[in-house]
């Protein structure tokens, strides 16, 4: 099996993991696909060490998380500035909340995923890091360069915004 075939198998195996991490953090499928491509290119450049490593999944998740945070800070300028502003929580989110009540499980999953993507960056990112990446409040605060109190507040507001969908 050539390197190209091995790498293709590798991408097929991990593409959902990388894409899911990216789309949940970025809330934008097109940007998530761009980041996923960048992450796999990095993996290709180190494929001889990563390709057969049992830590490949963890490496990919870490690189994806960092790439997403870099993307957010680079292309959605003044991330911290906007995150400090008070925003009307769940305003754009309301239609999805109302529609969710009648949906079945699959549709509810899709709508919950969509609702997660609709959360503002400063709520979605810490929420995803906390619940999907198992990061601690302190770790999230260090990563995002904000206070632990702000992380807790943003996560709580994100949960509140999702709450109506889950009931």
């Amino acid at each position: 099996m050539t390197d190209a075939h091995q790498f293709e198998t590798f991408v097929r195996r991990y593409q959902n993991l990388v894409y899911a991490t990216a789309v949940r953090l970025l809330g934008n499928p097109a940007e998530a696909e761009d980041v996923a491509q960048t992450v796999f290119l990095k993996a290709f450049q180190r494929f001889e060490t990563i390709g057969s490593s049992p830590a490949a999944a963890g490496w990919l998740q870490t690189v994806t998380r960092n790439a997403c945070l870099n993307h957010l800070s680079r292309y959605r300028a003044r991330w911290q500035f906007f995150s400090e502003l008070e925003q009307p929580d769940g305003e754009a989110f309301e239609p999805a909340v109302q529609e969710a009540a009648e949906a079945d499980d699959t549709a509810r999953h899709a709508q919950l995923e969509e609702a997660l993507q609709r959360l503002p960056d400063h709520q979605r990112v810490p929420l995803v890091l906390f619940h999907f990446e198992d990061a601690s409040y302190q770790n999230i605060a260090d990563t995002l360069g904000v206070s632990v109190g702000k992380v807790k507040t943003d996560i709580h507001r994100g949960r509140e915004a999702l709450r109506r969908l889950l009931t």
């Binding site: 390197d3 491509q37 290119l41 290709f44 001889e48 060490t49 619940h131 949960r159 709450r163 889950l166």
Partner: protein
Amino acid sequence: MASADPERFADAVGARLRQLPLPAAPHTLLPRVMAAAQAWARRPWYTRAWFTWPPGWQAASIALLCVLGAGAVLLLPGAASAVARMASVNAAVVLWRTFVRPVAPYAFAFAALMCLACAVFGAALNHVVFGRTVQP
């Protein structure tokens, strides 16, 4: 789901979120990644890291660097005398003799040593940490 008890509320939201299946990657991702990887593998050798250049070109680049360094050393006295001949720039001559000329050989030797150390350290790092670079 009541949000009166923050801990239970957080656990409940977390449980629901973790039940979500992984969003499937779009079908366009794999072809995009493979095309990008092939383009990266096919790029010309001179756009790659120096450590991955063909050995001949690595040797040639080192030789060129040595020639440039030797040329600089050989031309240094000539440049100094040219500066000295310029009578109208006495201040520059004084500055040159006072500050630059005494330390110039040491500065050059230091810079050359640093370049050599960087090259050795980079080569060692490349072999120890990153392993071999993927070849197409």
